[in-house]
C-alpha cells in the first residue's frame, strides 16, 4: 500500500547515500515557490524545515535522486512522477526519493504495449531546467491519445491531395524538451505523416540547449529502430511567441508557469554572481504564474489568434487554480469560430492540483470540427 495523497511526508531512503531521511512526497506538477510555502498542504513550519533539510543535502552533495511513485493514482498511470514544478523542495533541490526502490509495488507499472516511449532526458541539468513531471506526461498522453491523433490527422494529414504543406509545431517553454522531442520522434504516429516541422522556444537558454540534446537523442533512437521522425528546426530563447511570424504556427503547445504566486519573476536573466540564485530564478520562470497562475498564460492566449495559422490549434495545460472553465469561456467570447475544450485530464481526486489540457482551435466555416 502506498502513502495516501494527503500523507506526503514519510521516511525514505536516498538511493545514492542509502541514508534514511525525512522527505516530502509531492504528487507532481508545479505547486508553489519558496515564498508561497503556505500553499502546501503541510504546515508552513514543517515545510520550511524540510526545505532546509533538502537544500542542505543538495548543497553538500549536489546529487540527483530517483523519483518515487507514492500514491495510488500515480501507480495506475503509465507515466507518472512525483517530481516537478509542484514544490519548492523539488524545484530548488531537484530531489525526489524512492521510499523503497526494491518494493516492486512502488515501481510504475510497465509501459503498456501501445504506448509510445517517453524520450530520455537523463542528460539534462535539472538544477536549472524544469524536470519532466506529471504535467509534462499529461501532455504526452493527451497528444498521443486516440482522440487527439484523430483530430490532428483530420486537420493536417491531407496525404491524398497532391501537395500537402508540412505542419509546423511550436512548443513554448520546452524545458527539458521531453514534449517537443516526443512530438518530433512520433510525428508519423501522431500526425499520420513524418514531414512535420518542429521548433521550440524557451526563456531559459539552458532549457534550449537541453531540448536540442533531447531531440537529438530521441531522433537517434528512432533512426536506430529504422523509424521516422520529424524535421526539428531548432530552439530559440524568447519571451513566449513574440519572435514568431504572424499566422505560421499550426500546432502550438504550452505547458505554462501556472502556479499562483504573488509576483512574477523578470524575464531577463538575473544578474547575480550566486549561481544557485541564478538557477532558482530560471526555475521560477517555469512555474511562477502570478495572479491565479494565469498572468503568463493570458499573455500567450492573447497572442494566439495572431500566431496560429488558418488551421492552427493550441494545446495549453491548466491547473484547477487557473479557473479553466473561466478561461474556456473567455476563448469562446473571442468569436470568429474560436473554440476551447478540455481534451486531457490528470483525473486526480486527492491531488492538490488537478491538471487538464485545453485544446484551442477555430472551427472553420462549413467544417464539423
Amino acid at each position: 500500500m502506498y502513502s495516501s495523497p494527503s500523507n506526503r511526508i514519510s521516511r525514505g531512503r536516498c538511493f545514492l547515500c542509502d541514508r534514511s531521511s525525512l522527505l516530502y512526497n509531492g504528487i507532481g506538477g508545479k505547486r508553489a515557490n519558496g515564498a508561497g510555502l503556505k500553499a502546501f498542504d503541510v504546515p508552513a513550519d514543517v515545510g520550511v524545515a524540510i526545505s532546509s533539510l533538502v537544500l542542505s543535502v543538495f548543497r553538500k552533495r549536489g546529487s540527483k535522486f530517483v523519483a518515487s511513485n507514492c500514491n495510488d493514482d500515480d501507480v495506475d498511470k503509465p507515466r507518472s512522477s512525483s517530481r516537478g514544478k509542484s514544490s519548492a523542495l523539488h524545484r530548488l533541490a531537484n530531489l525526489a526519493y524512492l521510499p523503497s526502490q526494491k518494493n516492486p509495488n512502488l515501481m510504475p507499472k510497465t509501459e503498456i504495449d501501445h504506448m509510445l516511449p517517453t524520450p530520455s532526458t537523463s542528460h539534462v541539468e535539472f538544477e536549472r531546467v524544469y524536470e519532466p513531471a506529471e504535467d509534462s506526461y499529461l501532455l504526452l498522453d493527451t497528444l498521443s491519445s486516440e482522440s487527439e491523433k484523430a483530430f490532428l490527422q483530420h486537420r493536417f494529414n491531407n496525404a491524398s491531395t497532391e501537395s500537402s504543406p508540412s505542419p509546423l509545431v511550436v512548443e513554448i517553454g520546452t524545458g527539458s524538451g521531453v514534449v517537443l522531442s516526443f512530438i518530433d520522434a512520433h510525428a508519423e504516429i501522431i500526425f499520420g505523416r513524418s514531414d512535420v516541422l518542429t521548433a521550440g522556444v524557451d526563456v531559459n537558454i539552458h532549457a534550449c540547449k537541453a531540448t536540442i540534446q533531447t531531440v537529438r537523442v530521441a531522433e537517434t533512437e528512432q533512426v536506430t529502430q529504422s523509424k521516422s521522425h520529424g524535421l526539428y528546426l531548432g530552439n530559440m530563447v524568447g519571451d513566449l511567441a513574440t519572435a514568431l511570424r504572424i499566422g505560421e504556427v499550426d500546432v502550438l503547445v504550452f505547458n505554462p508557469p501556472y502556479v499562483p504566486t504573488p509576483d512574477l519573476p523578470t524575464v531577463l536573466p538575473k544578474e547575480t554572481r550566486d549561481s544557485f540564485e541564478a538557477d532558482s530564478h530560471l526555475l521560477s520562470l517555469s512555474y511562477a504564474g502570478g495572479e491565479d497562475g494565469m498572468e503568463v498564460t493570458n499573455r500567450l492566449l492573447d497572442s494566439l489568434p495572431q500566431i496560429l495559422g488558418e488551421n492552427g490549434c493550441a494545446y495549453v495545460l491548466l491547473c484547477a487554480q487557473n479557473k479553466p472553465e473561466l478561461v474556456k469561456d473567455q476563448i469562446w467570447k473571442w468569436g470568429d469560430g474560436w473554440t476551447a475544450e478540455t481534451v486531457g485530464n490528470s483525473g486526480k481526486k486527492g491531488g492538490w492540483e488537478k491538471l487538464q489540457i485545453v485544446r484551442i482551435w477555430r472551427i472553420s466555416p462549413g467544417s464539423a470540427i
Binding site: 501537395s163 511550436v170 536540442i212 524568447g238 513574440t242 511570424r245 504572424i246 531577463l268
Partner: protein, 127 residues
C-alpha cells in the same frame, strides 16, 4: 537553428510586427554548419508550399547560396532538376546557423545567435 527557421521568425519588437521590413531577419557575420541528411524529396515537396519564397531568396543570397529562381519550382521541375533539388536540400534541411547575428530590417536591432540558439529576449527599453 536551421536556415529554414528564419522563414517563421520576425523581430520581437511589437512595433516591428506590422512592418514588412521586419521579415525576414537578415543574417550578419553568420557561421554555418551542415548536417548530412539523407535525400528526402517528399519532405522538400511538402515544405516548399509553406515557405515564403521571396524571403527564402533573400536569406539564401545573404548567406551566399546559389541564386534561387524567382518562382518556387514545381514538383515536376524538381523531379527533372537534380541540381536544384540538391541545392534546396542543402539550404532547407542541412544548413544550420551556428553563430552570428540576425538583424531586423525595420528597427535595426540585432539578435545574437550562439551555439545555434538565437536569443530574442529584448532589453528592457525595447519591450
Amino acid at each position: 537553428m536551421k536556415v529554414l527557421t528564419l522563414n517563421f521568425l520576425t523581430c520581437a519588437v511589437k512595433a516591428c510586427k506590422s512592418s514588412t521590413a521586419s521579415f525576414p531577419l537578415h543574417p550578419k557575420d553568420c557561421e554555418l554548419v551542415s548536417d548530412t541528411i539523407e535525400a528526402n524529396p517528399a519532405l522538400i515537396y511538402n515544405v516548399l508550399p509553406r515557405v515564403d519564397w521571396a524571403a527564402l531568396i533573400t536569406t539564401a543570397s545573404e548567406l551566399g547560396f546559389p541564386t534561387l529562381p524567382a518562382q518556387p519550382p514545381t514538383k515536376e521541375e524538381l523531379e527533372a532538376d537534380e541540381k536544384m533539388m540538391g541545392e534546396l536540400h542543402t539550404l532547407l534541411l542541412e544548413t544550420q546557423i551556428s553563430e552570428g547575428m540576425l538583424r531586423c530590417g525595420n528597427c535595426g536591432h540585432e539578435y545574437r545567435v550562439k551555439e545555434g540558439i538565437a536569443n530574442f529576449l529584448l532589453p528592457n527599453h525595447l519591450v
